[in-house]
């Protein structure tokens, strides 16, 4: 049985709600730049997949939890290098499948008994003719659950993110790799985190600021 992550705390929920809705009060930032901008985190830039993979292992071993690897494609085995838990998406998809199948059966039984139509003298309650539609609706609801819960768990859609504020980061959709350790991480320290990233063989290390 795979282990699933713990649900977020109330403070975390409020903080993530503030990311989406401007009317939710944001907590005071722990770190600000000299210009008074909120510090989102520190990022390290890489140009090769093996480098970012091995760097991720070191960040994981340093005990960080609120950090991310950004890569133009899914890196094989990155969940192990980053040490995060398996997603609960399959359970949600299974729920979608059950909903679809039971909904389809309920619909067909209801409609067949609400106004019974005699077709070739076959019994009204026979399940066999209901199999194809039950299967199809099961697939349909599973597919919707799957893609919608993937987006929801990822916190998408969203219009803006501090990572988009620097032009350099947009190269992540091309051929660059980034490791970004967020300032909200309990282990985050402006000096030590930066030092850690400096030792990872990154092409460059930058401060990531939020725009407000």
């Amino acid at each position: 049985m795979p282990k699933f992550p713990k649900p977020p705390s109330r403070a975390e929920l409020m903080a993530s709600a503030a990311e989406y809705f401007p009317f939710v009060p944001r907590s005071r930032p722990k770190y600000v730049t000299r210009e008074g901008k909120r510090v989102f985190g520190v990022s390290a830039e890489f140009s090769r997949t093996p480098d970012v993979y091995h760097a991720a292992e070191k960040v994981r071993d340093a005990g960080y939890t609120k950090w991310d690897v950004l890569s133009p494609f899914p890196i094989h085995g990155i969940e192990k290098a980053m040490g995060f838990k398996r997603t609960i998406l399959p359970l949600l998809a299974a729920g979608g499948a059950l909903t679809g199948v039971s909904g389809a059966l309920a619909m067909q039984y209801f409609m067949n008994f609400d106004f019974p139509i005699t077709v070739q003298g076959k019994p009204y309650g026979a399940w066999e003719p209901f199999a194809p539609i039950t299967f199809e609706l099961g697939v349909l609801i599973t597919a919707f659950t799957c893609i919608l819960s993937m987006l929801a768990l990822n916190g998408l859609p969203r219009f803006h993110h501090p990572l988009f504020s620097k032009e350099r980061f947009l190269k992540v959709s091309d051929d660059r790799f980034f490791i970004c350790i967020e300032a909200t991480d309990p282990n985050f320290d402006p000096v030590k985190t930066r030092e850690l990233l400096d030792t990872l063989g990154a092409d460059r290390v930058d401060l990531v600021e939020d725009e407000d």
Binding site: T49, Y53, E57, D68, L70, S71, P72, F73, P74, I75, H76, G77, I78, E79, A81, M82, F84, R86, T87, L89, A93, M107, Q108, M111, N112, D114, F115, I117, V119, K122, P129, P132, I133, E136, L137, V139, L140, T142, A143, C146, I147, M150, L151, L153, N154, L156, P157, R158, F159, H160, H161, L163, F164, E167, L170, K171, V172, S173, D174, D175
Partner: protein, 531 residues
């Protein structure tokens, strides 16, 4: 031709440093060409040629969207959209006038319309097959073709959906197909395969669209980011038109990059390439692939129930579901090849992403599925004889096969020639590896698959049990132009896709490139821990 070789072994062999005989195989250096056709099982053929970097792959794929389309694109688009317009007018004419404008009659009440429906829905099977089944089998070469095959699937299903929709006659009553009670409180008949078909095709359409869209989110984000970077760098150009004198005039419109950043930005839902997101994305993709696999198989099975549950000789057979599914994959792959081989010739650098190996692999699938279809044809015939059902045997012998008695013998033999005989040339490696030879066979197969559906539908219907009702089918000009029009709609949508959406799954291609391997060979292996 590139001199890049996939592996030192092949390079040495080509340079004559290594004896071919020692490896037990005679290697033709000519045929090896760009290295994608390497025969050595120890060597993995490269999936991307010319030693491209990750950035070059982005540039090639986004270039098709961002660069002005080539001249042939405008010409092709003008032709196909005109044909599509004619088809749309035919549909309108039919809806206004009635189904009588087609050549249907009391005996042959399903003809070109349902033939076209099954033809298009069959073509629509390759896309999801490539994305789902080949994904589950971990066939990495699918990354070169999956996006365009999925797009083709959507467009083929759109074309397929037209025909039953307008064939019902009074198209404004098409809502009777939905599970809504009509004005007498009667629900649809859930024991009818035609209703199952409505659910199967609409589910297939929706799930294929979701699959296609979800796969495209990261690539749309790439397009968004490129447009955004150009805007920030101030190098975006405005819309211009060229005056006769050659002078360019700027139009007072938003810049193309502004539109791109906005539209692709909305469509890519704020994707930021986070590994935590990628993890859920990959799990979701795998589940979608897992549920789409039985879905692909179910859709054409259910289409075949439309026929198989009728008592009509020639339709009433249990072999129909697997036979239809094999035929659908066969016809779908033929259409993928039909579309992609010309694009490979005319679009720059397309050949580096869609190699001859990919085409050869698809040719092999055509050969296999062609043999399955051929087996189904012969088994159908065998059972018609072995089952000792006089009527069924008559349908085969005297309505289809025998030129002396069957008026539609030419349709049957066209089908056999195109579907069973023509793919047999793929037993020869030289033919499989020649893209244009593959293209010619793909054309034959596409024609053959249309005739297969025509043979199944019309030759079974035109002579049923009562000889007094026997009637031939003659298509009217509306029949012909509606079908041609549906081809126009299909190709127009495909050309729009080529221009406006990423044609390759960039993220997936990058992940299977050597640079995408987190344990690359040129790196110290001792660091390779962590799994």
């Amino acid at each position: 031709m590139s001199s890049i070789h996939p592996d030192k072994v092949t390079a040495e062999r080509l340079a004559g440093l290594r004896e071919d005989a020692a490896l037990g195989r005679d290697v033709e250096i000519e045929a090896l060409g760009d290295g994608s056709l390497v025969e050595d099982p120890a060597v993995r053929p490269p999936l991307v040629l010319s030693d491209r970097t990750l950035g070059e792959v982005t540039q090639i794929v986004t270039g098709y969207v961002e660069d002005p389309p080539p001249k042939w694109w405008y010409i092709a688009f003008a032709i196909t959209s005109t044909v599509a317009l004619v088809g749309t007018c035919m549909i309108l004419y039919l809806i206004i006038t009635g189904v009588g404008v087609w050549g249907l009659n009391n005996q042959v009440d399903w003809a070109w319309d349902i033939t076209n429906f099954v033809f298009w829905i069959g073509i629509g099977h390759a896309g999801t097959l490539i994305s789902a089944i080949l994904c589950l089998f971990k066939q990495k070469w699918r990354t070169a073709v999956n996006r365009s095959a999925e797009a083709m699937t959507i467009f083929a299903v759109i074309c397929a959906g037209i025909f039953p929709g307008i064939h019902v006659g009074r198209a404004w009553f098409a809502w009777f197909l939905a599970p809504i009670p009509n004005s007498n409180g009667i629900w649809p008949n859930f024991r009818s395969p035609l209703l199952w078909d409505v659910f199967a095709v609409s589910t297939y359409m929706t799930v294929s669209l979701l699959f296609w869209y979800m796969g495209m989110i990261p690539d749309l984000a790439s397009l968004r980011d490129r447009a955004d970077r150009r805007l920030r760098a101030g190098v975006s150009r405005p819309f211009t038109i060229a005056l006769p004198g050659g002078r360019l005039v700027n139009l007072p419109l938003p810049k193309p990059d502004t539109l791109r950043a906005f539209i692709y930005g909305l469509l890519s839902v704020g994707w930021r390439f986070s590994s935590r997101h990628w993890h859920r994305y990959e799990v979701a993709y795998l589940i979608l692939a897992g549920i789409s696999t039985p879905l692909v198989l179910s859709v054409h099975s259910i289409v075949s129930f439309d026929f198989a549950t009728a008592v009509l000789p020639g339709w009433h057979t249990t072999i129909f579901p697997p036979y239809f599914v094999a035929g659908a994959i066969f016809g779908g792959f033929a259409m993928v090849l039909f579309l992609l081989i010309p694009l490979r010739a005319v679009l720059p650098n397309f050949k580096d992403l869609l190699t001859r190996r990919h085409i050869e692999n698809m040719a092999k699938i055509l050969l296999v599925t062609g043999m399955m279809v051929g087996f189904a044809y012969s088994m159908e015939f065998f059972i018609a004889w072995y089952g000792a059902n006089k009527f069924e045997f008559e349908v085969f012998a005297n309505n289809r096969v025998n030129p002396a008695k069957a008026p539609y013998w030419w349709a049957y033999w066209t089908m056999i020639t195109c579907n069973v005989i023509s793919p047999q040339v793929f037993w020869f490696r030289k033919v499989r590896q020649n893209p244009w030879a593959v293209w010619v066979v793909a054309c034959f197969v596409t024609v053959g698959m249309w005739f297969e559906r025509f043979v199944i539908i019309v030759t079974s219907l035109h002579r049923a049990f009562l000889p007094g009702e026997w009637h031939m089918f003659f298509p009217t000009w509306v029949d012909i132009l509606t079908f041609t029009g549906s081809c126009g709609i299909f190709l127009t949508l495909f050309l729009l896709f080529v221009k406006f959406l990423p044609m390759f799954a960039m993220a997936e291609v990058k992940a299977v490139m050597p640079q995408g391997d987190p344990h690359g060979h040129d790196h110290d292996e001792s660091h390779g821990g962590g799994h």
